[in-house]
């Protein structure tokens, strides 16, 4: 099943990168290429062959991990992507964790204390969060905190002065972990300052979805008979919620995590552009502007892969948590 999906996505990206765009040969060679040069390059790229043969080559290269060469930088897409992957992974994962840490309790409390001030506030925040364009929120945060209040830097992952004065030894490629492991506190501090705004922006959009769905799930669970029974038996409220309701509501939350991570992945393209975060998102966005199809398709494929694997994990965790469901 998983394989079918990945193959399907690769067909789509293949279609989009070779069949759809105008003429990649002319694009690469420029306006003044002669007819012979164009034909020669076309043969070199294998573009004169029938479509299914081209796909076979494409798939073969994919399986070997070859994602093509970037039209813009001239480097293999794979090395470009691996350069930027760590930064994006770090941003999205930290944002997700923050979103979960805030969103889950908020959703639960919102459901438990239904129609209270907290509940209404949470619902308003959720509604506005869902309606807000993520790049607009990023701009606003930049304006308020970086420009007007001056408490955070405008962009980048770490400032060059700090990076030069306290160079970071790279162990995992993730600045947060590496700086803690090597005790490079100035670096860590500077990194956290840079991380604050983009992570807040990205976390916000995931957070509101998590809150909304957790609230809905919790309300559903609280309506159940066994909760009412526990209440009637005189079990203290916090025990009813903590021991029974919560666990069952959280099972559905696992699915939400998958969805929210998908939103974070989409949002990262825009957030990274706004905050000049050196990650895949910014790389993809600039590749799109440069009509660098191999780069765009490589990134899309990678994102699809990550998302699919994540959903697979979510399904598996679901089957572990809920013994009634067995994996097909």
């Amino acid at each position: 099943m998983f394989a079918v999906v990945i193959v399907g996505v690769s067909v789509i990206t293949f279609f989009l990168s070779t069949v759809v765009p105008g003429d990649p040969v002319r694009l690469a060679l420029g306006q003044f290429a002669t007819h012979e040069q164009v034909e020669e390059y076309r043969r070199e790229l294998g573009l004169d062959q029938p479509v299914y043969k081209q796909y076979a080559h494409y798939a073969g290269r994919l399986l070997q991990g070859d994602l093509g060469v970037s039209i813009h930088t001239g480097f293999p897409v794979k090395s470009d992507i691996s350069k930027f992957f760590a930064a994006t992974f770090e941003l999205t994962t930290i944002s997700m964790i923050v979103a979960l840490l805030i969103g889950l309790p908020l959703g639960v409390l919102s459901a438990v204390y239904r129609d209270s001030l907290l509940d209404h506030a949470a619902r308003i925040i959720s509604l506005s969060g869902v309606s807000m364009p993520v790049f607009w929120l990023g701009l606003l945060l930049q304006l308020i905190f970086a420009v007007w209040l001056g408490v955070a830097p405008i962009g980048g992952r770490v400032s060059s002065q700090v990076s030069a004065a306290h160079p970071l030894k790279s162990i995992t490629g993730l600045f947060l972990i590496d700086s803690i492991l090597t005790g490079n506190w100035p670096f860590l501090l500077d990194f956290l300052k840079h991380l604050a705004l983009p992570a807040a922006t990205l976390a916000y959009s995931s957070l509101v979805i998590i809150t909304r769905m957790t609230r809905a799930n919790m309300l559903e669970v609280l309506r159940q008979d066994y909760v009412r029974t526990a209440d009637v038996y005189g079990l203290p409220r916090h025990k009813v919620i903590g021991k029974y309701a919560l666990k069952n509501a959280l099972i559905s939350t696992v699915t939400i995590v998958g969805l929210a991570y998908g939103m974070a992945l989409s949002g990262t393209f825009l957030v990274e552009t706004i905050f000049s975060w050196p990650g895949l998102g910014r790389y993809a966005a600039s590749s799109i502007i440069n009509s660098d199809y191999p780069a765009v398709m490589g990134t899309t494929l990678l994102v699809a892969l990550i998302y699919t694997v994540l959903n697979l994990l979510v399904d598996l965790v679901y089957t572990i948590l809920d013994p009634r469901i067995s994996y097909r």
């Binding site: 999906v5 789509i12 990206t13 869902v130 309606s131 364009p133 607009w136 304006l143 552009t273 765009v296």
Partner: protein
């Protein structure tokens, strides 16, 4: 629900937008460039001296057009695919649902970006890209509905009377799918506007000098942060529009499907 009333007003305002002819639409005067909001220009002027309020109102027309087109297109494709898939079942169902899974394997914005990126940047191609990304959701909803409606007695009755299958689907199954589709569609209207704005922001949707909100934000970034209103005002417009449709969608859901109400 008070929210619904506010929303309907908002929705009507959004609809009147394109008909409303604003002052000084595309006229620009370079001596007026980058003026802060004032009595003359309620929302300021942009880098070409164009009145931002007028451009934002015109942008509403573009967003409405995009929203309606995309939602109608996705619903049409999704409903047909979902109904056929659910009704016939078997290998057709398997194949169609695998295709749906493939499309849903990539987060919507990412896939829309990839599709729009491969085509010539234009509003029409952006609409095409978003429609291609959105129809799978409707297919799934309709398929689920079809599967349960299929078992109803009136369907069996129609079948035994020899009613041709397309007619059964058209006259019996699809009308019963309408409620969840409408709820989803009204919510999706907002998300469509959001996605179109995101594509515009990346340069993949409307092209200058069209006053598309996402494009305006992206162009406004060059004058950020000194002339901050150029980039932030269109965003406010997007925010209010999407919020309006989300409230509308929530309200519709309360009305049409009380089971889903908390």
């Amino acid at each position: 629900m008070a929210g619904a009333i506010i929303v309907i007003v908002l929705a009507i305002l959004a609809l009147i937008g394109p008909i409303l002819v604003p002052t000084r639409e595309q006229s620009f005067s370079l001596s007026d460039r980058l003026k802060a909001p004032s009595a003359d220009h309620l929302l300021g002027t942009d880098d070409m001296g164009r009145d931002i309020l007028s451009r934002v109102i015109l942008g509403a027309g573009i967003s409405m057009r995009v929203g309606i087109t995309v939602v109608v297109a996705s619903v049409l494709i999704g409903v047909i695919v979902g109904a056929i898939s659910g009704y016939y079942g078997g290998w057709l169902d398997e194949v169609l649902m695998r295709i749906v899974d493939i499309f849903l394997a990539v987060p919507s914005l990412v896939l829309a970006m990839a599709i729009a990126g491969a085509l010539e940047p234009s509003i029409e191609n952006a609409m095409l890209a978003i429609s291609l990304v959105w129809w799978p959701w409707y297919a799934r909803i309709v398929r689920a509905q079809t599967l349960s409606i299929k078992r109803e007695e009136f369907v069996a009755a129609a079948q035994s009377l020899g009613v041709p299958v397309p007619v059964i689907i058209w006259r019996h199954i699809i009308p019963n799918c309408v409620a969840p589709v409408i709820v989803q569609a009204s919510l999706d209207f907002g998300y469509t506007v959001l996605t179109a704005a995101s594509l515009g922001f990346l340069g993949l949707g409307a092209q200058p000098p069209k006053p598309e909100w996402g494009l305006m934000i992206s162009q406004g970034r060059s004058y950020f942060p000194t002339s901050w209103w150029v980039a932030t005002v269109p965003g406010l417009a997007i925010f209010l529009t999407v919020m309006g449709f989300n409230l509308l969608g929530d309200g519709l859901r309360d009305v049409l499907d009380p089971k889903l109400k908390e």
